[in-house]
Symmetry: C2
Subunit: 148 residues, 2 copies
């Protein structure tokens, strides 16, 4: 018999990994309709909150490396969702701004949060228990260096 700590059913990381994948898959049909991927949707969330940000700020907000975000932004630029322009103040920065089309996606995707929100609600995960789950996930993220 394998030791308890090696059993798949006792792994927190496997649960997070699987839950993340499955929930991301729930977004897929809603986003692919507009040629978007889930990470691209995250970039839109960031830019809808605050337009015209340098690559670095977007990457930090998403806790991703710039070498992940740069190609992602390049693809979105090619799709006409955003523009990338050299910073005037600081020539090293690339300022990322939404195009008209990128802004318009907000209305087209208006139902996405609700659709996915409804899909995820189940026995022990409800609006009532969301704060508990959020707190635990935020603690994990903060603890593993997500706040640096």
């Amino acid at each position: 018999m394998v030791k308890e700590e090696f059993k798949l059913d006792n792994q927190l990381c496997f649960r997070l990994y699987t839950a993340s994948r499955l929930l991301t898959q729930a977004y897929h049909p809603l986003l692919s309709k507009y040629g978007l991927t889930y990470p691209q949707y995250l970039v839109l969330l960031v830019l809808w909150e605050k337009d015209a940000q340098p690559v670095n700020d977007i990457a930090r907000r998403l806790l991703l490396e710039t070498n992940t975000v740069t190609p992602l932004l390049q693809r979105m630029e090619k799709e006409g969702i955003l523009t990338r322009a050299k910073g005037k103040k600081d020539g090293r920065q690339m300022i990322v701004s939404l195009t008209k089309e990128g802004k318009a996606l907000q209305k087209k995707l208006a139902d996405v949060p609700f659709t996915v929100g409804n899909a995820v609600v189940c026995e022990s995960v409800t609006p009532k228990t969301f704060p508990d789950l959020f707190r635990m996930l935020d603690d994990i993220i903060g603890h593993l260096g997500g706040d640096t």
Copy 2:
């Protein structure tokens, strides 16, 4: 102002996605020492529990598609961690078995669950609250088709 449901800080999926990535990163230094990735470690967990399984069973256990698992197993085969052999009962199946080296990794990685377990413990995530977190994640996974 952007609507509440579009704020990054209100997204469950982004939290799961980030927590999953960061926790997986915590495994990285421990696994790369032996040339392993986290998904490869998951395959080992499955095979340590039950050796000599067809590709399909491994994929189902990890809730992954076979087109994800097959190349992963091929890489592990090339590393000498496991073998893949056509099934005798059913010629379509590929039976995946651990090599001596694959079995030996269990002892070499004995400290991994504890190291990562200690790393993740924080304010609201402790052995005491693990069951709550596990239940919520399992509900999400089961609800999103993870049991099919």
